[in-house]
């Protein structure tokens, strides 16, 4: 049974609690064991490094040291955490002298990172460690005849030399999962673009136009809904969707699922356990169609 040190990240413990909920709902059923890193700090989200790069590296080295003590690799469930932590881990492992210098900041806590941990997103764990064949075995309610738009976001793909999981020009991990749960993935250029979230509070118009353009393209490509491995993308695409629609002059009505919600629904997990009622854009259209196709009746919410 594969076992990881779960790093939920701030968003899954904050404004997207349904991501944490749905992750917990699927991992046990997929025979993934986790130990949650409850004392881990924020990864810095690419923001703390702008204030002080050394602080950001130290926060992440501290998390890696905690996982190392458990003898486990880190599992992230956030595309942004994955990008930031993966890049920090690369630097700590590769830059001569850096690990020693950063470890000095961890010393008062009695921690030291030796550089033996890997950081893996849930998406990668499912595709590579668990395997799509194994995932298919758990599917009870396939997304038959659903057209699903994958939305990767930035940090899980770029820069490719720091991320290293798949070709950022032609990624396929989300598409493979969509197919494994019985759906058809649609192809559109926006799937690897930016959701705008990092500047959404201070530059809302730019950010929501970016999000809106990507959703419009997905919609025009025939998408019934979108799925993303990043909760920051989810906030931009779901919470700000109405404003994004206004910014680009289009009616979007596009439900956005977190990756574990997509998998959980196809596994037949009750919707309550997946936190689907917490979205601002309702997902009822998906649930109704699945029921019509003979899926067990989902609890209404």
């Amino acid at each position: 049974m594969p076992k990881y040190a779960l790093y939920p990240g701030c968003a899954a413990q904050g404004a997207t609690p349904e991501l944490y909920q749905s992750t917990m709902a699927i991992i046990g059923r997929l025979n993934i064991e986790v130990v949650e890193l409850k004392a881990a700090a924020c990864c810095g989200a690419g923001v703390v490094t702008e204030a002080n790069p050394e602080t950001a590296l130290a926060l992440n080295a501290r998390t890696f040291a905690q996982a190392e003590q458990l003898g486990l690799d880190v599992m992230t469930i956030c595309g942004t955490c994955q990008g930031v932590m993966g890049a920090a881990n690369q630097r700590l492992k590769q830059e001569p002298g850096l690990l020693e210098r950063i470890n000095r900041l961890l010393a008062p806590e009695g921690l030291a990172y030796r550089g033996t941990v890997q950081v893996k997103h849930l998406l990668w764990i499912i595709v590579r460690d668990i395997g799509l064949h194994e995932l298919r075995r758990h599917i009870r309610v396939p997304f038959k005849d659903f057209r699903v738009a994958p939305f990767y976001g930035c940090y899980i793909l770029r820069p490719s030399w720091d991320v290293g999981f798949e070709d950022p020009e032609n990624p396929s991990s989300l598409e493979k999962v969509i197919q494994a749960v019985g759906g058809d993935s649609i192809s559109y250029a926006g799937r690897t673009k930016c959701c705008g979230f990092p500047i959404i509070l201070e530059k809302e118009q730019i950010a929501v136009t970016m999000a809106g353009a990507n959703m419009k393209e997905a919609k025009e490509g025939g998408a019934d809904f979108m799925v993303t491995p990043c909760p920051l993308c989810h906030m931009s695409l779901d919470i700000y969707q109405e404003r994004a629609g206004k910014a680009i002059g289009a009616r979007l009505d596009l439900p956005i699922l977190h990756l574990p919600q997509l998998i959980g629904l196809a596994m037949g997990i009750p919707t309550k356990e997946l936190g689907l009622s917490r979205h601002l854009i309702p997902v009822d259209s998906i649930l109704k169609r699945m029921e019509k196709q003979g899926a067990p009746v989902h609890e209404s919410h």
Binding site: T16, C42, E54, P159, C194, I199, E202, A207, I239
Partner: protein, 323 residues
């Protein structure tokens, strides 16, 4: 190997919109996309317009969109594109006006480079005394984080997701160029401060979402986004902390310092400040989120061991600068 090339064509004198045309060509192992385009022009259709010069990734003229990404045609292998994508599509750089076929109008690009004053300046009070700025560079500043490697090909600008929706954005190439002057020890501190007061304004350093597209596509490893991040650090260090972007950084870092992690409930206040009009614009979303249980407790407890996080912040603050 006989391959099909799908090339976007557009002649403003006769076409109302662009179209894709297919050309077949026998190509060898080492053929580049530029080799193929020149052959298509010579052997199939002399009207194909493209821009190129050095053919060896030095002049920056032949940047175009190849299989959906910005690349220099002269150093892109046809074979590798075929293996990677199963096809070879060629289009002009995105988000710049097309003159004809694969050539784009670069005037907005050059205008933005000019706008960042890409030459050494003296402090305002020393204007007209260029001798004051002419001090020799210190050895540490001689390579400018590789920003000087830029060949002005505009791949980064075409790929920039902010530029795509906001054409006024200064963009990655020009901002990287600006960073090069911030790093130049010959320029007096007052002149640098003046640069930063211009750069922190609308459409400047705070518009970047850190999407990493510019870093990914740059053929010369300039990493423009890293340059923008250095500019942001310089702005904060110069005390330019009033913009929403600057407040985002300082507010975020302060929340993590105090609680060990971010609390989204407090971010609008940190970024927008006690500005009632601006807070009012996010209020409806806050209420909608609250109804769905998406607003975290603003008084949530800090993570276990948060005092250690404060120690890390304090200790790393004593050693400022990039590690």
């Amino acid at each position: 190997m006989r391959l099909a090339f799908l090339i976007q064509r557009f002649n403003p004198e006769v076409d109302s919109h662009s179209s894709t045309r297919r050309y077949h060509l026998d190509v060898g192992r080492g053929t580049t996309v530029l080799d193929a385009l020149i052959r298509i022009k010579n052997e199939h259709d002399g009207s194909l317009a493209l821009r190129y010069s050095c053919r060896s990734a030095i002049c920056g003229s032949c940047a175009m969109e190849i299989n959906g990404s910005e690349k220099l045609a002269c150093r892109t292998s046809v074979r590798r594109e075929w293996e990677r994508h199963g096809m070879v599509t060629v289009a002009p750089l995105r988000n710049l006006p097309v003159i004809k076929d694969l050539t784009v109008d670069m005037s907005s690009f050059w205008g933005k480079i000019r706008d960042v004053t890409p030459w050494l300046t003296s402090a305002p009070q020393n204007a007209g005394r260029p001798d004051i700025a002419q001090r020799s560079p210190s050895p540490a500043s001689s390579h400018f984080h590789n920003v000087d490697a830029c060949i002005m090909c505009a791949a980064c600008v075409a790929a920039c997701t902010v530029h795509e929706v906001s054409k006024e954005f200064a963009g990655p190439a020009a901002l990287a160029k600006a960073d090069r002057f911030l790093e130049d020890h010959r320029e007096p501190i007052e002149a640098k401060r003046h640069r930063l007061t211009v750069l922190e304004q609308e459409h400047g350093i705070w518009d970047c979402t850190r999407c990493n597209f510019c870093v990914e596509v740059c053929p010369k490893d300039v990493k423009p986004m890293e340059a923008i991040i250095r500019l942001r650090r310089s702005a904060l260090a110069a005390g330019l902390t009033a913009t929403g972007g600057a407040r985002h950084i300082t507010g975020f870092a302060e929340l993590v310092r105090r609680h060990g992690r971010l609390n989204e409930a407090l971010m609008p206040l940190k970024i927008l400040g006690f500005n009632l009009r601006r807070l009012f614009t996010v209020l409806p979303l806050g209420l909608a989120m609250a109804r769905k249980g998406k607003v975290p407790n603003p008084f949530a407890a800090a993570i276990p061991g948060a005092a250690r996080i404060r120690d890390i912040f304090a200790a790393s603050r004593r050693h400022p600068g990039a590690p």
